[in-house]
Amino acid sequence: MRMIFAALAATTILAGAAQATTVYPLDRATILAGSPFDFKVELDKQVKAEDVKITVNGQDYKTVLGGEAKFVELEKGKEDKALGSAIILRGLTIAAPGDYKVEVSAGDETKSVTWNVYGTGDAPKAKNVIFLIGDGLSVAHRTAARIMSKGMTEGKANGRLNMDDVPPAAFIGTSATNAVATDSANTMSAYMTGHKTAVNAIGVYADRTPDSLDDPRVETIAEAVRRQTKKSIGIVATAEIEDATPAAVVSHTRNRNDKADIVGMLLDVKPEVVLGGGSAYFLGKDVPGSKRKDDKDYIKLFQDAGYKLATDKNELAANASAEGNLLGLFHTGNMDVTLDREFLKKGTVEKFPNQPGLVQMATVALDRLSKNPDGFFLMVEGSSIDKMSHPLDWDRAVVDTIEFDKVVGLAREFQKANPDTLIVVTGDHTHGVSIIGTVDDEKPGTEMREKVGTYAEAGFPNYTDENGDGYPDKIDVTRRLFIAANNGPDHYETFRPKLDGPFVPAIQNEKKEYVANEQYKDVPGAVFVQGNIPKSGDSGVHAVDDVVLQSDGPGSEGFRGYMEQSDVYKVLADAFALGAKQTN
């Protein structure tokens, strides 16, 4: 019995190790007509070039795909592991919309995939697109933002967020090509290219070779806008500007951590406005604070390419109307969150005291981009909704949601004056987070857990906004929202806002396992919360739940019902008529 089991296990392992023949783009890919993309076939076995036969809609592939593919007799993996033969054709285009059935045979291997190539209208519906993305924005974030910002009386909100008045349009499925779960790289890449891809990948399909920069590419929206229009491009984020979400507007890599390379890709596209954090990847390695491993000085390379540079909010204001393109870098890493930057002065605010907020950055970007008579594409990311949800720091995540909502308000004002503007408000993925009631310090006893109010015992929170700035006057009120994650590492729940700086729930031990951070153990009433994800996980993870997409303006009628994240791109492409040349 034991032997049979062992034999079965061995068979399973062998079967699992063998890869199926793979064609990129994958089956059911949707491709913008005329957009350049890479075609790759990965065979299981090593074959001879003459043994490979590829047809597209029954014709020799060269006729339809317009070029001869390179044959690689043997691709190698890590430690020179033989992977099989491959066929690669880069930068091809298909002009005519329709279904394309690709059939591959080589020896005893066969594979068939079908792509759908789609066109767009000849004339753009929208002059401008403002794509507003709350990274990780889940329903709980917006509910909490509304209650913290506006308050609630007898079960009715005392006011509305700006995003509350953007029509809800679609539920978005965010899963990756290699997993039901997902991250900011593949999700934003789906929005910005129209192709789903693997976790950690941007602007490429994830192939089997170890090199992260050789994977089959697809066109990004910034490249398509450059190719077909004279519109301007803006990228604004509070994260490092080469972080996955802003990077996905312009770049191509299997590994989102190729941040030094992403800076170069940003320079290749030259968006007119680039504002965010992450200057460390612009500095040569000998400059203290650099995170490059080479000597390239991208500050100088951007300046040489005609960019004005701003490094704090005063320089941003001073350069708001400067000629040329604008590069604003306000932190070596991720910018501080609103709660730290504007109110608590924690995090790294002492080191970088003059960081602008998302609203100021978005205002400057809109002012500059709207000067282009041909219009613009602007992506603004509320990055730290996600960056603070990972460490379960819900107060910081919610205050950044309020800041993001102010940018929604700004975009809506712009749209009123410029109705030929399509606005999209959405998240890239969700988090496993919910509001379940309140924590009331006035409840009797010292056990904080007993102060959690559920059902009728929750009552209503007592946040105030006396100065009317839209932010609660303080977050550590006596009766506050109780927001909790459905997953996470081992940690201590303190039932209180983290006034000393962002929460670090778990730290790594010598076995590379994340253990509860003892720093919070002695907070009065703190309770140990057993993690429910692997011990290699350092923080709360993304949820697989659908994202809510809201939209208003010309073209927004294209968003409807359930949509794959990649299908959002089709609507954007159609709004700009990216299937049609507009540069003449």
């Binding site: 400059v287 203290p288 490094t311 109110f343 924690k346 303080k474 000393d500 790594q508 003892e518």
Partner: protein
Amino acid sequence: MQDQTVTRRNILAMMASLPLLGLGRLAEAADAPLSFDELYGKFGVLGLEFSEKVKALAGKETSMRGFMAPPLKAEAAFFVLTEIPMSLCPFCSSDADWPDNIVVVYLDEKQTFVQPSQTIEVRGVLEFGSWTDPETGFVSLLRLRQAEYSTV
């Protein structure tokens, strides 16, 4: 909202500057103490500047208190000393996402790993400037070489 001004960083700085009493071994040593708050004279988007104290202590026996981050690789010849107990990278998985205020420690002799929440004191020869570890490619700006450490 209102500003709140006492920071954890300030408290840590005050704690770090308390006289180091009752530590026999340290009292004997002639190492110059250096705190994490004293590493840089200036922070900026276009780079940091080392403090005058770091420049003055370069090449000299220096002691620093902090926390040992888990080793990058089991066989790495160095470990990273951090100001507060930390995970490798709280939000992603790249080695590049370390904070600025870290010090790389090259040990004279192999010593055992201590728990990440344990304060340690490291003594070694201070070195500043960009250096790429030949084995791991890890780029560091500040190092303590020929170092040893003990728990505090």
